[in-house]
Symmetry: D2
Subunit: 369 residues, 4 copies
Amino acid sequence: MKKIVISTGGGDAPGLNAVIFAVVHACYKRGWEVYGSRDGYGGFLDLDDMVRLTPKDVAEIYSQGGTILGSTNKGNPFSLPVENLAGEIQVVDISDKIMRNFSRMGFHCHIAIGGDGSLEIAHRFAEKGMQVIGVPKTIDNDLEETERTFGFDTAVSTATEALDKLHSTAKSHNRVMVVEVMGRDSGWIALYSGISGGADVILIPEIPFDMDEVCAKINDNELHGKHYSIVVVAEGAVTQDGAAFNKGTGELGRQEVVLGGVGEYVASEIRKRTDKDTRSLVLGHLQRGGSPTTFDRLLALRFGAAAVRMVEEGIFDHMVALVNSKMVPVPITSAIRNRKKVSLDSDKMQTAEDIGICFGHSSGSWRFS
Amino acid sequence: MKKIVISTGGGDAPGLNAVIFAVVHACYKRGWEVYGSRDGYGGFLDLDDMVRLTPKDVAEIYSQGGTILGSTNKGNPFSLPVENLAGEIQVVDISDKIMRNFSRMGFHCHIAIGGDGSLEIAHRFAEKGMQVIGVPKTIDNDLEETERTFGFDTAVSTATEALDKLHSTAKSHNRVMVVEVMGRDSGWIALYSGISGGADVILIPEIPFDMDEVCAKINDNELHGKHYSIVVVAEGAVTQDGAAFNKGTGELGRQEVVLGGVGEYVASEIRKRTDKDTRSLVLGHLQRGGSPTTFDRLLALRFGAAAVRMVEEGIFDHMVALVNSKMVPVPITSAIRNRKKVSLDSDKMQTAEDIGICFGHSSGSWRFS
Amino acid sequence: MKKIVISTGGGDAPGLNAVIFAVVHACYKRGWEVYGSRDGYGGFLDLDDMVRLTPKDVAEIYSQGGTILGSTNKGNPFSLPVENLAGEIQVVDISDKIMRNFSRMGFHCHIAIGGDGSLEIAHRFAEKGMQVIGVPKTIDNDLEETERTFGFDTAVSTATEALDKLHSTAKSHNRVMVVEVMGRDSGWIALYSGISGGADVILIPEIPFDMDEVCAKINDNELHGKHYSIVVVAEGAVTQDGAAFNKGTGELGRQEVVLGGVGEYVASEIRKRTDKDTRSLVLGHLQRGGSPTTFDRLLALRFGAAAVRMVEEGIFDHMVALVNSKMVPVPITSAIRNRKKVSLDSDKMQTAEDIGICFGHSSGSWRFS
Amino acid sequence: MKKIVISTGGGDAPGLNAVIFAVVHACYKRGWEVYGSRDGYGGFLDLDDMVRLTPKDVAEIYSQGGTILGSTNKGNPFSLPVENLAGEIQVVDISDKIMRNFSRMGFHCHIAIGGDGSLEIAHRFAEKGMQVIGVPKTIDNDLEETERTFGFDTAVSTATEALDKLHSTAKSHNRVMVVEVMGRDSGWIALYSGISGGADVILIPEIPFDMDEVCAKINDNELHGKHYSIVVVAEGAVTQDGAAFNKGTGELGRQEVVLGGVGEYVASEIRKRTDKDTRSLVLGHLQRGGSPTTFDRLLALRFGAAAVRMVEEGIFDHMVALVNSKMVPVPITSAIRNRKKVSLDSDKMQTAEDIGICFGHSSGSWRFS
């Protein structure tokens, strides 16, 4: 009988509980025991945070958002900031302690569900001898080596639903609605929700934008009798001219951008340049919450079950990945090397262009930039 | 055969189209003609904006958000700012022109759907001799004389759904989530969505709040092992100590509040005082959009049908209202006199208190303030 | 310190858990203890089924369907069928045993949430000396003395959502869609969902219908260029001509109705008489499940909190009711006397008529029947 | 300037309108004209049914269920049953007439959206010289050569949502709920929704089932303290023992199965054999309706845009397909040859087994059948 420990780390993603559900059931079927470590590596440091998980304990969680194991960031165990009695912050390495407790408790393997940060830590434990399997988690869908991550479809659905709601009010009032969605390094959520939600303009980190192009599209809509526009902006989108507004160069920029984000910046520029009644909205954490979509439930359950099969096959220091619609193991190291960007010559981008979406690029088409 | 004209004015509210649907059908049944005036009184000024509406034209709109008649604010026809050739803004009264055109087109009655601003204008036209019937519209549910207005249930549902989504992520990450909802003068949306969405704290304009009380509740949650809290704030909520932060008196106040709204202010204070990971979100226009709930559809259809029955009975300069669960006419003038506030001794407030919700009032209970 | 026991009985209704949530919190605030009796009176018979309920035990259940206390029908304690060793069924009265255990455990009061059956049993216990408070539960909204019951808005929303879905496919394929909804004795769900969901025909128990009228409406739609129709049928709807098809008197009736329900009967008649492609659907238990709507959550929480206030005020053998939008106590006996029927001269019925809905009555209008 | 004609045929699938939307926009961008033929080939027979489609005509339809072109089955143009004056039905071939009109109107290409029936007809027109491009449509996801078809994700989501709703009521009342979903030849919808919706048993056409196994699973649940079960049955599921109950061979079979479907059969058997309170529900047309999910919108838009690119590249008599996550052309003939069955050695099936789902196969595992 094997003993498996499972943990969840990093930001929230709908589907975390479904992974846990599948791991617990797949282990139960094999006669193995599963333990959950609370708040990342918390259970390795305090036995009260190491909980036995049986099918009964995870009943019905496959449809719930969040994670029953918690995911409060305690920091990197290899360089953890702790406060000493004098109130000073010191950075300590508690990885040996974790390794010791892992062995003492007789665990066979650790299934670590997390983003690239958590996966890197998992890999470092693998180097120290821990049998580790990674399950990728990023709502942004920007992890290399896996076609999809769970949580992404739910985030996109939430964003699209918001666009649907804003549509009717934008139309009734001849307004421009600017919606800022998640995506610091990549534009996946913006692209998918923008296409599905009828956006006129989509601004993503992969294609630096030009406000003139954005406003040209809005004015063109007017000309064609469409007196409202929907603009979707990824939080990591940047202007084309190198004026890195994130640093806040101008008087206006400072306030608007530093405090309000790129969505509010875009809205205020549209307001100034087109004279249209323009409103902005930041979806924020709404995108991380709620019951996972059917798509994400199935995907997360597959990830969890595949992780247990990898334990069975003895494939460690690897991450479960979706490749050609199949669950396969890939080395953790190769998975976390790079962020997956939106591919500019995909048929999704072509579709977006074909249905008239503007990406704010000044040379007419982003493809010839 | 009567000719009826209908218009929608002011901010968006889910159910506007359902009112139009009911008016068109109820008139059709009586053999009357219905015309829609675009963008408020637009159709009275430009015949292109006066459209004939038959059952076919309104097919299926009962379930759609927005308004097919548009609702772009052109201003008050009794004092309309217009630009002359020299580029100067002049205020003109175009009400006589509208009266003339109303007569010329042979309209029997004008059914005006709108908030207190639009209803007041409708009343002034009634004083000039126009046969007018008002249909109240406010998403805030703050109109005196009617127990409910359509759009409110949809707004509350959207806000509650958002609270549900934030719940799981707040819990997984031990966070405080602050959600700012609509309600400049009254706390109806905050109160209803807060109770239904499991809020720990609800801040409404009717009960000026004290940040110490808010933080005491959050700390009390910690003590009871609940490491996350949900705070719902109406956009018009104010602090108790008279420091009207809306005016921006302090260094912090200025930036945070003027730019970020009361929700962001509350979040930043909680962050400072409790050291909890605290996030804020402004729901904004999401609350005005989307398909109306079943409740709002039925209510809006009843308002529309009742307005037509009032035409039949010759009751003008009145507004349709929901009183004791029945549709009754009330004089427009009495309806727009005051805003309906949350009644502090209602059983809803008692329920909120009974299930442990904090209203941020320092004397322990808001009832003894 | 008082000890309160709470139970849920009868069919499922979204909001049951919200009532429990409110009772537990309102008692906790008063320093009282709450116990839950599983499966109706199960906890009075077996201590294992009597569970202590604290705020922690009911965390987040306000948004969940079903009931954490279970509601498996064990039968009426005053005449309970039990099997003896010889395998014979005997009817026994176990009410004295329940009374004894109620006293022994030191309970102050029993809050019984249930439909008319459960409320009548509660009243009989009140006659035996148990301090009882009833909370009405019926998804059909057909309980006299209370304007609304929780669960009804959710059931109507589920039915309306189904109508919305069927709309597009009915329209694309020029079909008649017949949807059978709950309502054995009254047409509330059919009426509300039918109006909100764009039905052409609504058949309710209160207005016996004539298939000729139903088909006339469908044909009239054709004439007006609307090549599809939506028909909503309450499960208890009956034909006008006295041919009580429920009893299965005719050749056709037997098979179709006994096996397929009134919805399938109506569909098959339409198919035969109009030659239209006609499909039928029975919504069934979908209407009893799922997370309660915002409206139902608030209503159920108010019911629960009001019940606890009634304990405080010592008002027993009464049921909480919604009267004039307020929570008030009414004697249980008067509440269960009659079923609340759809009032045929309400403005809801007028609205339905005004927007062109047919009720299948042959004299042109049901009002002159 | 090219003139393109587009048509939709067969049963409804959410996403049809999104395909039309993309085709119209992608053609508009290229300066081409688009016409829509109503009700399949209706526009080729009656000019009134051939409508010009511009971006304005398709505004916002990407989010709507159904098809604006209608899809009423008029039959196969190569062998169309028509009634002559004497009232006799004759089968005629009107394909030449359609070819003539196609040429006369100067169409460059016909984009036919449809299932295998419609695609086969399209291919026969291709053989007669019509430049045809197919877009696959089947809610069942059972078309060879394409990994996915639009509408499937929406159908699965609707089914999963229903399972979620039934869950709470099944649990509260210790019931078995049997849900019959679409899938005459393949179990895709049953498999996906069953896994995502927490089913205990999934019965699909690919794995003939044994009622003993089904009941064994339900009893096993009891033993483990789970007093309710969810059973998902594809409408085409059959029993293992060769007793093809569809033909109604036995005493029980006839009534229950012929009239009630396999779901009702399974429910009645469970009721008899386990004595559990068991209810059944047929989801039926709910699965074909409603707004497409985000996933389906994006997929359908990609199909539409890819079809237009195929026109540009002159690839005819081919169908757009999703292969390795990319849009590629495949010959229509190869696409319609076989139905795509659920692959029994996929990781989805393994996942289902790993989380304890029973497929009703008697040898313990369907894999060794």
